[in-house]
Symmetry: C2
Amino acid sequence: MEVKGIVIPRPEGQENLNMKTGEIEIEAREVELLNQCKDRIPIGLGDHLQPSKEPSRMEYRYLDLRNTFMQKNLRTRSTMVMKMREFLCNDHGFVDVETPTLFRRTPGGAKEFVVPTRQKGKFYTLPQSPQQFKQLLMVGGIDRYFQIAKCYRDESSKPDRQPEFTQVDIEMSFTTQREVQDLIEDLIQYSWPEGELTLPFPQMTYNEAMDNYGTDKPDTRYDMKLVNLSESFSSSGIHSFENTLKKDKGEIIGIRIPKGTKYFSNRELNDIITSPTIQNQCEVTSIKVNDGNSWKCPFQKYLKEETKDKVRSRLNIEDNDIVVLAHGTGHYPHTALGKIRTTVANALKSKGVQIIDEDRFDFLWVTDFPLFLPKEEGEGLESAHHPFTAPHPDDVELVKTHPEMVRSQHYDLVLNGFEIGGGSIRIHQEHLQRYVLTEVLKENTDDLEHLLKH
Amino acid sequence: MEVKGIVIPRPEGQENLNMKTGEIEIEAREVELLNQCKDRIPIGLGDHLQPSKEPSRMEYRYLDLRNTFMQKNLRTRSTMVMKMREFLCNDHGFVDVETPTLFRRTPGGAKEFVVPTRQKGKFYTLPQSPQQFKQLLMVGGIDRYFQIAKCYRDESSKPDRQPEFTQVDIEMSFTTQREVQDLIEDLIQYSWPEGELTLPFPQMTYNEAMDNYGTDKPDTRYDMKLVNLSESFSSSGIHSFENTLKKDKGEIIGIRIPKGTKYFSNRELNDIITSPTIQNQCEVTSIKVNDGNSWKCPFQKYLKEETKDKVRSRLNIEDNDIVVLAHGTGHYPHTALGKIRTTVANALKSKGVQIIDEDRFDFLWVTDFPLFLPKEEGEGLESAHHPFTAPHPDDVELVKTHPEMVRSQHYDLVLNGFEIGGGSIRIHQEHLQRYVLTEVLKENTDDLEHLLKH
């Protein structure tokens, strides 16, 4: 319906001050029926209605978009991205360069979408990111580049992963990690849609994140941190723990679920700790702390009072708590407990126990990632991120002697437990790049010459 | 090389006022060699050098980008696109919505790129334009949408066509052709990188453009307009002309190449007028006007003084001009001369005769396109642009009686002879849309129901 008319005040007594336009109405002069809806509108529209179920909303997406919350999402994104552009392009001298999306395959990395061409046997691929282009732009004298870039990965969808996604893509010459972090913090603050953010964002090293949260993207909106209990169990007399500590040089880690026995049945607890993604590389077990000194766990008959006291004081245990323990080598027990920590927090949320403060936006820099990690399969090392990441300046000498100990100049930005960004300083010395590729990563020399040709 | 130091004035007498930084220099304190170039730089860099040949520039594109003119191109584009966004998003309430690029096939239109998925037999396609999405957004209450959108067409490359290209994509609800034109004019003026533009841009109907320039995208920076000579030849006694006029109801059209005999040899002229793209659907011939009354042409022995006088006065012929004539039916002679007009202008340019004012930016709206055209193959009509274009409001009745005469609400924006944009008002009444599809275009009913389903 298209209506043209004169805006007039509403008749006295008919004003509605709860509406933005509640004091006026339009006296129609021309009315055109643009089109008709055959039946009634098939999904719920209007702020007073519950939104319809997801499948109906998807089928009638063009109607669903009329819902206030959908309008708000689209408009907030538009405004936020616009502010990011103002910040980068107008205020900080970045050049917006649109790079091609039909390009040749890059070896390594994620699985790429291919696009057949009109020439038999020839394919384009859709880019995983504009990585190569932006590095060429740096060489080409565009020393501050940005692009709101579409990226493609032919991987299974997850709730926070889709085959096509968009990233704020930035590259700078002659900079440092801290300068980039400052820039990103200011960029986010400038474009943040509501409320004030506190700058600078907290920093945490990769090791701190693994030790305290069992993940490199910790959600710091709630506590339940990991606690190292190796010392508490070192002379506990419990064989499996002592074996982990002495024979395997591993560790024993625990988390405390406050008042856990009130919220989780034995079966629920068992489901959480025996989930197949967790049990692989370490052993997980649990203790139910009942009233007073009554602790229930598989090894309760070996549990000395002295051990209980040590654990109780390390974890500040109270009645009705649950303690989950993981023991094993390397970061495996941490990773297991990191996953359990998240699962427990979400399970508590679904039970109406709000341990996560949903109003908070906890930004966090995670820094000092390892440059190399043991290969997932076979012997040797592989890049933790990509082979062009520069080593931490204090660790350059270690590249030749102890590559597994080298920290990188890679950093991630985490928000409420999700990795929302990341970056790195690149290696810019040919000899170091060549050493990393040939001596540490043992890359095939032919591929290498291709990569290093220009 | 990374140099840190103190900016100091240059020693007296060593200033160079031609350089922006000619009065200062840096006293280096820290110098770091970032990397080395093995040989000398393989392509010419620097404003005092001629740019290298295209293939070298492509091979070493990351170096070529350092050339001032390349830097200027990239930076001008970035700034101009940014200003367009400011105009649309900040000043005129448009919402920037990023639409998906992995989508299902749309029937009809250009050839599309397909992207195989991980499911056998299932493909995405890359969009020719976000047409469908933006129309859904209109229904969805985003009544002012824009996107700087990447589009894909799997067609052969031409100098002004590539398989992937980017368009400023706009859609508005409740608007008129003139409102959109005003918006686009203001948008271009706001974002134009140098100099003032004169608004509004001139308008020309499709018929005026065809009659005067033989193309729907005329370059108005130079004259050499088409002139209708049917009247001049109507009683010339020259059979082929009289046949075209009387038997075929066709027309005779001419253009004058001022001082053409000085610039074009017989052979060059012949090459231009016998080019295969031109001779197909009409006959093209030429007259060389030598001194005084001596006219050389294939039909010179039939050329009466009276006919010469008529042609001379219609075209304002002077000595040494060349006249190119085309005769045939419909717009074929116009189209042929339109192509010849462009070829001649470019040929003159390459001979150093500047009939095109290269400093001008001639924007032009071409309006009142036909809604339907005779099918290129077979009987009947097809859409001149797409089947959703609305008819001119004055011609709605003609859709049923004389569809071939209906003007559309499609308009193109032309700059210096190139189509740089276009748009249309869409049909919004189901009954009219259905009539156009079934009765005029005789579309398959099944496809139709699919299109009209929602």
